[in-house]
């Protein structure tokens, strides 16, 4: 039993806190193991037909409840559950002896395997497999419903919630806590869009029992047992005190639409143009003419200021169809980013030469950088290619821990570096950045990441290399202040955050930002680091 006032940490979703009574969602009753039928094929086929028609009706109900955006998902799922080829495949399975639920699960799996490995369908796969479960559960008479209360104020607690689960949220659901699931989980996305305060990746919530009053405090990244709304962490409202931020705030883009939209913000140039996003669907290598045309358009549209272009950043988990990328055991540790210069030097050279033409056509200032650099020799190789191809400032991404120790060797080799904090965290903490239960290790406020970042800023300053940060962390206004305080020369944020980050960086001076960074160094945990920064910032804002 958790004591009153106990604090459970997780990752917050949303800006307002709420208190309510815990309602634990029981894990679904497990489905029986695969089994053979007793010999009556026709009765199994009939059972399957009935179950498919029941599940179709359930999906129609869910579509009605879900409202416009998700309704389309359920309509698509209904069409899939009624798929005739799927039904035929299930009958074949029944004929080989499997009972109806096992046959349907096997049939779905056959198609799931055909679809796997294609990024277009990756997110559909979980939904399709969930369908197989629904049909099997229906045949076994197992309820997959959450049976949520319709009245009252409840904070629902569960492992993680699927699209079918979140569609069942009633108006009595005022807050959500998940034990697993990260900041980009389905639960987090739905809660953000419905403005339901949530804390995800909250391992301590496993101890919560029905009936306990809790405070869901997303700004504080925590849940407080018997907490009151008055105890909630307040989001800081920064007030700009000067017209210009202490360091430039640039925008991240990946397409022409992004570039046009970024130009409507107060961003000073582009800190990260992800070129691979143009090619994730291309089966044929884009010609130089095509590349020049698309780069020139994007450069012309970009917000005023320099534009930092990253050469193709693909790997076997993010494949570009026209580049041959064999399946790898550990794609995050494989041939990705600039390592593609081995098998695909021509494409990287084409990109750089096309960018030079686009630079001339647009008349813009272009910086180019290579991703996934681990050695000085790789930086030298890229710099030679880039300087031969055009008139750019040349840089590299700092994502691997090894290159941090080589920064002194980069003097005279590159003009700038840009830190990708997401990948740096992944490699520094040896934790898969998409893993649902490793959210804590990927928290940018981790003291080890903050110290690694400060080493990067200092080492760059010592050898006069311009340094910037373009990872997700630079989209957090408070974290951007810490980055400026440790000496980075610019940050680049996602488009929607440019305004907020700019305001935060305009609300103080460089020495105040440096003080906040110094104070944060005392922290022994990520939560402590964030609390220290927020407390200092509130004092300044107040």
């Amino acid at each position: 039993m958790l004591a009153s006032g106990a604090v459970l940490t997780g990752l917050g979703v949303g800006l307002s806190a709420i208190s309510g009574e815990v309602f634990r969602v029981k894990p679904h009753q497990p489905l029986p193991v695969p089994a053979k039928h007793s010999g009556d094929k026709q009765s199994e086929i009939d059972k399957l037909k009935t179950a498919i028609s029941n599940v179709s009706q359930e999906l129609q109900q869910l579509a009605k409840k879900a409202g416009e955006t998700s309704a389309e998902i359920f309509e698509a799922l209904e069409m899939i559950v009624q798929d005739e080829s799927l039904f035929d495949a299930a009958i074949t399975e029944i004929e080989t002896g499997w009972d109806a639920p096992t046959a349907f699960v096997n049939a779905v799996e056959t198609f799931a395997e055909l679809l796997s490995g294609d990024p277009t369908f990756e997110e559909r796969l979980a939904d399709i497999r969930d369908l197989a479960k629904r049909v099997a559960a229906n045949i076994h008479g197992i309820s997959l419903g959450l049976n949520l209360p319709e009245e009252g104020r409840y904070v629902i607690v569960g492992e993680d919630f699927s699209p079918a689960d979140t569609a069942q949220f009633t108006k009595a659901v005022v807050g959500v806590i998940t034990i697993q699931g990260g900041p980009t989980s389905h639960t987090a996305i739905i809660c953000r869009s419905k403005s339901i305060p949530a804390v995800v990746s909250c391992a301590g919530a496993a101890e919560l029992v029905d009936g306990v009053q809790v405070l869901v405090d997303p700004v504080g990244d925590r849940v407080v047992v018997e907490g009151k709304e008055a105890d909630a962490t307040q989001a800081i409202s920064f007030v700009a005190k000067s017209a210009e931020p202490i360091i430039p705030v640039r925008a991240n883009i990946g397409s022409l639409e992004d570039s046009i939209a970024a130009a409507t913000t107060a961003a000073e140039g582009v800190g990260l143009f992800r070129t691979e996003l143009l090619y994730l669907q291309s089966t044929a290598k884009p010609s130089k003419e095509k590349q020049i045309a698309s780069y020139a358009e994007i450069l012309k549209a970009a917000p005023e200021g320099p534009i930092v272009v990253r050469t193709i950043d693909a790997g076997s988990d993010k494949p570009v169809p026209f580049l041959d990328m064999p399946k790898e055991e550990n794609p995050a540790l494989g041939v990705r980013g600039f390592r593609l210069v081995g098998p695909h030097r021509d494409f990287i050279v084409d990109q750089l030469e096309s960018l030079e033409e686009a630079r001339k056509l647009s008349g813009r200032e272009v910086w180019v950088m290579a991703p996934m650099i681990a050695l000085t020799s790789e930086a030298i190789e890229f710099a030679e290619l880039a300087r031969k191809a055009g008139n750019f400032k040349v840089g590299i991404m700092v994502e691997t821990p090894s290159i941090i120790y080589e920064i002194p060797n980069l003097k005279g080799v590159v003009d700038f570096i840009s830190v990708g904090t997401n990948d740096l965290s992944q490699y520094l903490f040896a934790s898969d950045r998409l893993h649902p239960s490793l959210g804590t290790l990927l928290n940018p406020w981790q003291p080890a990441l903050i110290r690694a970042l400060s080493v990067i800023a200092k080492e760059c300053e010592a050898v006069s290399i311009y340094s910037g940060v373009c990872g997700e962390s630079a989209s957090d206004p408070a974290f951007a202040v810490v980055l400026a305080g440790m000496g980075f020369d610019s940050v680049s944020s996602s488009r929607s955050q440019v305004g907020a980050v700019r305001t935060a960086l305009s609300s103080l001076d460089k020495s105040q930002a440096h003080d906040i960074y110094q104070a944060v160094l005392a922290a022994k945990t990520a939560d402590e680091a964030k609390s220290i920064a927020l407390a200092k910032l509130s004092l300044l804002a107040g």
Partner: protein
């Protein structure tokens, strides 16, 4: 019965994904005809199955063969041009 054959091109920037597949299946079911699709020269799949269509994993720019079993040439052409429309995204 005659078979009307035509070629369509996937113009949707994200390829042949779930949405166009659903639109085509609905059209095929409403028509009551047997329609097959697939890569030229390969075994075609029935276009009344969204999973089979998605399993083609068609990419932007690829061409697909469409076969419509009907004696009504005009109806077939109408269906084919609707399918091409869905593949524009």
């Amino acid at each position: 019965m005659a078979t009307v054959t035509a070629t369509v091109t996937i113009e949707d920037p994200i390829g042949f994904h779930a949405r166009p597949a659903g639109q085509i299946v609905k059209l095929v079911k409403d028509s009551g005809l047997e329609i097959r699709m697939g890569r030229p020269g390969e075994t075609l799949v029935k276009a009344n199955s969204p999973l089979s269509l998605m399993s083609l994993k068609g990419k932007t720019g690829e061409q697909l063969t469409v076969e419509v079993d009907t004696d009504d040439e005009a109806k077939a052409q109408g269906l084919i041009s609707s399918i091409q429309q869905f593949l524009k995204g």
